[in-house]
Symmetry: C2
Subunit: 197 residues, 2 copies
């Protein structure tokens, strides 16, 4: 099977992407080969380009192609507020909502004793540096409501206590959510945080 | 957003692949960027390589990197039998079962009046050529049990009638299938084709 070795290798690599398996990788690769000029060649070029230029922002950990990312260098964004997220996907999710106008800090994961991930692995020292150098007044801890996420939030809160205002995202019923489908924890949180109308 | 333009473009391209959408494309691209040396660079290179070399076999329409594919040139495979499939994915599925040892012919789709796909678009003339040049004695029509697939099978059968033995895949209960979950058509086909034990 010499003649298909390259194609097989490509399928194998694609199959390792999150969300793809062997079957969908085969489908995707066949689709790409069928539309070689329209899809495969541009995609290969674009991947080359990103592979050559993608890098983490030195300041916040966001991905981009420059030493400092667009958000860190944007003059129009508010200073003084940092939103701390676990990873870049969370930063993108926040940005899609277009409501936060401050700066970000991407931890790159959560503290985890099991996986031996401590503060040093998580860009937490850099966050503490930034509090002073950027005159931060509020840190919004937008980490996941998981055990590891909350452990991380507590650790950061301990480190920064008394130096800045610390906030976290509100917990409650998601917009469009039906009570019937919500877990008990969310309902409890929403009830405890109930508001006057 | 200049610094992420290349990354955004890559996500947009990945999102167009079958089986991926915007969300899974974002996840895949972030995963690739995070493992740049281990995953992104090799994948980009491999894609480049396939884009440069992938081509259809001149004889049967299978994909490969040579003028004639491995199956058409394999000396160990039996001559005289051609298995006609709709596309390369079907050929791969047949090959995975490792039971057919003859040659293939990939139509590249099915006849479709609506989409203006006639015999000329489907490599059917080439199939008819091969009957003579390769001294074919049996044509196995392994096309889908869909309306278009069956129309295509009938058309090919008409063209080849009397010149070769024409067969089609058996229809019936899939291995591991439960009757309860099968559609009426399949049960009818399986009952009509029942066998003595």
């Amino acid at each position: 099977m010499n003649s298909t070795r390259d194609i097989d290798a490509l399928i194998e690599m694609m199959a390792k992407l999150p969300g793809l398996g062997p079957r969908s990788a085969r489908r995707a690769v066949l689709h790409l080969i069928r539309k070689r000029e329209l899809l495969l060649m541009p995609l290969a070029d674009q991947m080359q380009r990103v592979a050559a230029t993608a890098r983490e922002c030195e300041n916040c950990g966001n991905v981009g192609t420059t030493e400092l990312c667009d958000i860190c260098t944007a003059e129009k964004r508010a200073n003084g507020q940092i939103c701390v997220v676990e990873d870049v996907a969370d930063l993108w999710a926040m940005e899609r909502s277009q409501v936060f106008k401050g700066r970000y800090h991407v931890l790159g994961g959560t503290l985890s004793a099991l996986d031996q991930i401590g503060p040093e692995q998580l860009r937490i020292p850099k966050l503490i540096d930034r509090i002073d150098t950027e005159q931060i007044t509020e840190v919004i801890l937008a980490v996941g409501a998981t055990v590891d996420g909350q452990t991380t939030a507590h650790y950061i809160a301990d480190q920064l206590e008394g130096r800045v205002r610390l906030t976290s995202l509100a917990q409650g019923v998601p917009i469009g959510g039906e009570l019937d489908y919500l877990d008990d924890g969310t309902i409890t949180a929403a009830l405890n945080a109930r508001k006057d109308i």
